[in-house]
């Protein structure tokens, strides 16, 4: 067994996958940080109103607050389905 292990130097490589997954999820989670707590609820209520008029999926509504030195901007992005 050890003799085989000696010649087997094929890296398992799962660490590289771990790193990549972490980088992606943390970038996502960090961007959510510092957002006001009412945001998810606002997003849901907006969704309910918009759904009365057009059919949109939850993931097509994006609500964020961006801060700069002097002000905060509430940004609401709604992606509508293409016209048929």
């Amino acid at each position: 067994m050890n003799l085989i292990a000696l010649f087997r130097r094929r890296p398992d490589g799962s660490a590289a996958i771990a790193k990549e997954r972490l980088q992606i999820i943390l970038a996502h989670e960090r961007s959510d940080r510092g957002q006001p707590e009412f945001l998810p609820r606002l997003q849901q209520e907006l969704m309910a109103v918009i759904a009365k008029y057009v059919k949109v999926e939850q993931e097509n509504i994006n609500v964020t607050v961006q801060h700069d030195d002097t002000r905060a901007i509430l940004e609401i992005n709604v992606e509508l389905p293409p016209k048929h």
Partner: protein, 272 residues
Amino acid sequence: MTKVVVVTSGKGGVGKTTSSAAIGTGLALRGHKTVIIDFDVGLRNLDLIMGCERRVVFDFVNVINGDATLSQALIKDKRVENLHVFPTSQTRDKDALTMSGVERVLDELRELKFDYIVCDSPAGIEHGAVAALYFADEAIVVTNPEVSSVRDSDRILGILASKSRRAQRGEEPVHEHLLLTRYSADRVERGEMLTVKDVNDILAIPLIGVIPESPAVLKASNMGVPVIHDQESLAGQAYSDAVARFLGEKRDMRFLAPPRKGLLHKLFGTNA
């Protein structure tokens, strides 16, 4: 000037209490008057790791409630001069640690001229963990090279940056230090484990030490002797290095490469 140091991680079981015990002891061994406080209300364990479990009479909650004085509750370490342990309570009431109570205790410890107050945080991000980090000047973030631990450490860094007293008062931020524990250089070399550099790149805070996975850690907890006393062990030496770096000394990182094995060991040795 007293410094409040929180040892935190988010995730449980990564080595917070082991590290609090080792680093607190290390600071006292270097001549600094140090107290290690167990913030894990309901799950007292620092006393066991420090080997003083049979000397606990009063605890953190007793002092906060005014049922005992601080000097009655502080346990003087038997091995190291200038080292004290402040045990937590076994109560199931998680809110027993009021912020004003914690502040009063810390202020009293400042008056007693402690150089370092090491706060051993509970796992999680609930009240106890926030109470442990709220007053911190320095944070030692204990992380294993493993995805869930790294993610939780990142979360705790976010909480330090928003919920600590320094953050809320707009003061200079808490100084953060990364302590990587349970590092297996062998597995890193085989590509099975995140490297120091991977974790350090992702969390992007200064690295204070890398503690190799070592049987000495379990032995130390079995015996109730902080592993830093075991200077034969790699973990003990790595903690000494970490304490030195914490105090501002420059030391090269050790134990990052697997120990070189002879051919005979490779052929006939066991896979440890």
